[in-house]
């Protein structure tokens, strides 16, 4: 069986159907997001002032709006098409969906950016959405009175799982592509030190998005050159 035929189901059926359903579920998701607000206003008669809502929205948007565009584009190569639809509907992207994407592709031994990698990521993220909802549902049933009894040491420990997870997953990247890994470390440290020194003050708003763009796209630009030339050399050596 040749390789092209193998992937025809992916390109001709799977991805078109994911795009059709992904677009529909996320657009309907936008409408559903309004339900709690509508219930507050229509059922319980709470009528917040329109000016207050708009004012609050502008304040939130002034720090968030740039991420509406930067996050989907930066995370897309990691999440793939199905993973992007699911991640942005379900949220918790950096602490849950990105780690799950990398971890499940590594466990299944598939290469990121390939058809198989995209499908494995979609499976991993789908499972993670359901597990996260089960855990949160359990938490809401327990209620705040029980959750607030959890000792502070346990809370601190649980808060530190995510940074340890980020460290571990980044190490995996660095070990599997050392040259690009070093480029990524240098770029991240460089831009973060510039930020600490206050040298990103000219950037409109919170400069976090600039840090993110430099880390992700800087690594793509430089890493691509390095790895492409390594690939050529490997070919010539053959």
């Amino acid at each position: 069986m040749n390789n092209k035929n193998d992937m025809s189901a992916y390109h001709n059926k799977y991805i078109p159907s994911i795009i059709k359903w992904g677009r529909a579920t996320n657009l309907i998701g936008v409408l559903i997001a309004f339900l709690p607000g509508l219930v507050c206003t229509a059922v319980y008669g709470l009528k917040p002032q329109v000016a207050a809502v708009i004012g609050g929205f502008i304040l939130v948007a002034s720090s968030e709006a740039v991420f509406w565009i930067v996050e989907p584009i930066s995370y897309f190569p990691t999440l793939g098409i199905p993973g992007t639809y699911m991640s942005f509907l379900s949220g918790n992207i950096s602490n849950l969906r990105l780690p799950v994407s990398l971890a499940s592709q590594t466990a299944a031994e598939v290469e990121p950016g390939t058809e198989k990698g995209t499908v494995i990521t979609a499976i991993g993220i789908g499972v993670s959405v359901i597990v996260n909802i089960l855990i949160l549902t359990f938490g809401v049933i327990l209620g705040s009175s029980i959750l607030s009894l959890i000792p502070e040491s346990v809370i601190n420990a649980l808060t530190n799982i995510v940074p340890a997870l980020f460290g571990a997953l980044f190490a995996q990247n660095v070990v599997s592509r050392p040259k690009t890994g070093i480029v990524a470390i240098v770029l991240a440290c460089g831009i973060m030190i510039l930020n600490m020194l206050g040298l990103l003050g000219w950037v409109p708003g919170d400069p976090t998005y600039v840090i993110m763009i430099v880390c992700v796209f800087g690594t793509i630009l430089i890493g691509r050159k390095i790895e492409a030339s390594d690939m050529e050399k490997a070919k010539e050596a053959e």
Partner: protein
């Protein structure tokens, strides 16, 4: 009127339950489609199973983190809205921030004593502020695939390189962002990094399956333990 009665009211549970059900619906639908196509493109059952197992492990730890982060939101915004917002679009940091701004704009401060109107303003602001990226992804995700192809110069063999470099840059950002906080998170990120790197390099020679399967879980929990003991 006591706003917490409304915040934990029946109809709010219904509205939020519908939202949570919608996310579950999308995930189940995509899972079915993905598992079906996985057979057709030659992914083995073992590969799918290990992806599922790893995903569960990688989700439980951070999800418990979300759970404890949820307490503050639960106290002020009530059960249904907190449950909904953290299963749908949101993250703890964003929701606290948006709820606070909304409550203030509604003439209160986020907390168990705010007015019902401040609560409702919070709900509306949280909703509106979170719609940007979901709209962008609904409309443009298919085009992002084309953008990635352009970055690869139209060469298919370059796509895995682009994705690999993007991942590397993404996790470099996420990891260094914690390292540069100079608190126990710094220790957690660095310990997780070192343990994983050692296990991975060690395993390049040994090539043991159990190390590959468990190195990630071991580094995550060991990094966390070191950070609270240190």
């Amino acid at each position: 009127m006591e706003y917490l009665k409304i915040a934990n009211g029946f109809w709010l549970w219904v509205a939020c339950g519908l939202g949570v059900a919608w996310v579950v619906f999308q995930s189940v639908l995509f899972l079915i489609k993905s598992i079906k196509v996985s057979k057709e493109i030659g992914i083995t059952k073992t590969q799918v199973n290990s992806a599922v197992k790893t995903s569960i492990v990688a989700t439980i730890g951070p999800s418990l983190g979300v759970l404890v982060g949820m307490v503050a939101l639960l106290v002020s915004m009530g059960g249904p809205v907190s449950w909904f917002r953290l299963s749908y679009i949101g993250s703890v940091a964003y929701e606290m921030f948006a709820a606070e701004i909304g409550a203030q704009a509604g003439g209160g401060a986020l907390g168990a004593n705010m007015s019902a109107t401040a609560f409702a303003t919070g709900v509306w602001v949280m909703t509106l502020g979170a719609l940007g990226s979901i709209l962008i992804t609904a409309l443009f995700t298919d085009k992002m695939g084309k953008l990635e192809n352009i970055m690869a110069g139209g060469r298919k063999e370059m796509l895995p390189i682009i994705a690999g470099c993007a991942m590397c840059g993404t996790f470099s950002y996420l990891c260094m962002d914690r390292v540069f906080r100079f608190n126990s998170q710094t220790t957690a990120a660095l310990s997780g990094f070192i343990i994983m790197a050692v296990l991975n390099i060690w395993n390049k020679k040994l090539n043991k399956k159990w190390i590959r399967n468990w190195s990630f879980t071991i580094s995550m929990f060991a990094g966390m333990l070191i950070s609270i003991v240190a």
